[in-house]
Symmetry: C2
Subunit: 199 residues, 2 copies
DNA sequence: TCCTTTACCGAACGACTGGTCGGATAATCT
DNA sequence: AGATTATCCGACCAGTCGTTCGGTAAAGGA
């Protein structure tokens, strides 16, 4: 048990603070292009000090993508994601996905960039596929209930809609031109009602 | 002048064939994680033979992203992109962008992944920004002409719509479940008319 | 104060990286 | 056949990578 007493020399970073810095560098330079020395210098530590806190480069990636995956699955676990008409549940998941994406921007950004080179990345990819499956089922249910047009392939619609959602990481910046709720709002309206002017 | 006469030992690859192989590896492994030896082995050549054909890693990236950029700008140069109502021009650009994306899948995929680490990547990013500006102007014109709803920020709409378009590279595969025109069709209908069932 | 615990650092390691070079090889042209 | 020319390759290099290790610095507990 951790009794809460602090012993020894105090650390400059908590594990989470360290991860914040690391993920920032991963995003800026790209995971593969990022050197352990880049990470160490970004924290103000030397490479060897840095290794005192982490077991290696891949552990950092694993922790980062796990945080993003957890945040996204938490959306599916919310009550509004499983109660009520499917079309409302779908809207809720879309809107909340944008929220999570904005709140956990660097982590989700990293998640969306993994390509399966390492074990951590392959695990992340399999979780993303599971997430997609859940979404696809939601779209299908909304079609079955007659609230979403049936003339479009549900699998295709799922990919297109969540392609739009995921694309938000490419340009959304906290403190930028748009707030997260504005983005979520515009996206939901666009997806459900389309671009065309009402006649 | 190249008079067309072939002298000396014939090459195993034309420059374009070589680029095809290279881009495939770039996509699979990621640009930074790809080693010159990976590329050489993928072509069946040794590293030193490979260097006979190319000046280095970055030249390959430059040629690849240039091809994608050219293909996308060619869409804007088509007559239907500059004639008629803005909403029709917008639809044409969206539809044709999907076509180009499917036809030049690996090249556009690579383009969409560059992060500005090298000079070639920064050039690509600036071209993408120019492309976005042109699209944004198109959306604005469609709003001004009253064919696109005015209650959404045009800049936001542009990013969302082309986020959806760009997201297609993540899952579209030639010979897969959907043809490129199906995808383009579904995307255009989704974007302009929305997901909701007509009452 | 001394002891324990934790954070930190300098220096080095083996493996691998992008890139080079001199020469061998296989075609075409005369 | 012999000269010419582009293609291909084995061996190598200097630099960088992720990682390790022995030791020092700084804190709390006794």
């Amino acid at each position: 048990m951790d009794s809460g007493v602090k012993r020894g020399r105090p650390a400059r970073y908590t594990p989470d603070e360290l991860l914040d810095v690391v993920v920032g560098v991963f995003i800026a330079r790209g995971y593969d292009a990022t050197t352990m020395d880049d990470l160490a210098r970004a924290t103000g530590l030397t490479k060897s000090s840095f290794y005192h806190h982490v077991s290696g480069k891949e552990e950092l990636l694993r922790r980062a993508v796990a945080r993003a995956v957890d945040a996204l699955f938490a959306v599916l676990a919310e009550p509004s994601s499983s109660r009520g008409p499917a079309v409302d549940r779908l809207e809720h998941v879309v809107r909340r996905s944008v929220d999570v994406l904005a709140a956990e921007l660097p982590y989700v950004t990293l998640l969306l960039r993994v390509r399966g080179n390492t074990a951590a990345e392959r695990w992340a990819l399999s979780r993303r596929r599971e997430f997609d499956r859940r979404l696809s089922a939601l779209v299908q249910a909304a079609i079955d209930e007659g609230d979403v047009r049936a003339d479009l392939d549900p699998a295709l619609v799922t990919r297109l809609v969540f392609g739009m959602v995921n694309g938000v990481v490419e340009w959304y910046r906290p403190g930028g031109a748009h707030r997260a709720t504005e983005v979520a709002d515009a996206l939901v309206r666009l997806v459900f009602d389309g671009l065309r002017s009402p006649p």
